[in-house]
């Protein structure tokens, strides 16, 4: 679920509104998922000592 918003917004370069329309979810949900997706990626990287 968190992967797909990253794929849409980052790898495909879509805006929040475009991603929401494509995924069939509200724009606010796309935002919160990008928020949690990046937070969890940051945590994984922080555990590996890559970022603070």
């Amino acid at each position: 679920v968190h992967r797909e918003v990253l794929v849409e917004c980052f790898y495909k370069g879509r805006s929040i509104a475009e991603a929401a329309a494509r995924l069939g979810i509200p724009p606010g949900t796309v935002k919160s998922r990008t928020h949690y997706a990046l937070q969890s990626l940051r945590l994984v990287l922080a555990e590996m000592g890559v970022v603070r």
Partner: protein, 235 residues
């Protein structure tokens, strides 16, 4: 960080906010330390994710190349990534690949699993692990296709290797004809290859043209109607 903009940080660093939302969020950032901190903590991630494409173009190539041309990453991220020391960045890249593999294992959007690349659908030659530098072709019209080229001069002429990706689209499923042409300094045009490809497919092919690297000025990827979709001008 309980504020109305608490979830905007991710979309902001991905460059996915609309211009008005971005302006509004940037005004908010000026007065909200929690959001500034949240943005700072994830600002480096798009830059690192973006580097995956140059390291492993076969697995995430088509979509990242498409993204790179849009350059939607905010200046903030560029500033942060540029500030990082190069040797550290290299280490970071190596580790972020591992982390992203863990996080993205099973990604389905036509990118395939990083650890288990899908077999090339129409590929005639698979790219060797130590592939020579590939040069991206530039879109001449609005197209979803992306391609990159490598050149090697031989006694017979120039060997052109092309890797082309066509992203998965929900709207179409048909395969289309594509042709690659090499154009010489005196205007002579040689067809390098032709192939059929549809959404979600990647093609790698190699052809030889008798033109030498010095004679070769331009490579064009054209569609069935001879419209130039992508082109690369040799330096």
């Amino acid at each position: 960080m309980k504020c109305d903009h608490a979830f905007d940080d991710g979309a902001y660093v991905l460059g996915a906010l609309s211009p008005s939302e971005r302006a509004s969020f940037e005004r908010h950032l000026a007065g909200c330390a929690a959001c500034r901190e949240a943005v700072a903590s994830i600002a480096v991630l798009p830059g690192l994710l973006g580097r995956l494409s140059s390291l492993d173009a076969d697995t995430v190539g088509s979509v990242t190349a498409e993204f790179a041309t849009e350059q939607r990453i905010p200046r903030l991220v560029a500033a942060v990534t540029h500030a990082r020391r190069k040797d550290r960045a290299r280490l970071v890249v190596a580790v972020v690949v591992t982390a992203a593999v863990a996080l993205f294992a099973g990604v389905t959007a036509g990118a395939g699993r990083v650890s288990d690349p899908p077999p090339s659908v129409l590929g005639t030659v698979s790219r060797p692990p130590s592939a020579p530098a590939m040069f991206p072709m530039v879109a001449q019209v609005e197209t979803k296709a992306t391609a990159e080229l490598a050149f090697r001069e031989t006694l017979a002429g120039t060997v052109i290797t092309m890797h082309c990706a066509y992203p998965m689209l929900s709207e179409y499923h048909k395969a289309y004809l594509f042709r690659l042409f090499a154009i010489g300094a005196d205007g002579q045009t040689e067809q390098v290859s032709s192939w059929m490809a549809g959404p979600g497919e990647e093609v790698t092919l190699t052809g030889t043209v008798r033109l030498t690297m010095d004679d070769l000025i331009r490579v064009e990827l054209r569609n069935r109607e001879d419209l130039v979709l992508l082109a690369y001008n040799l330096p």
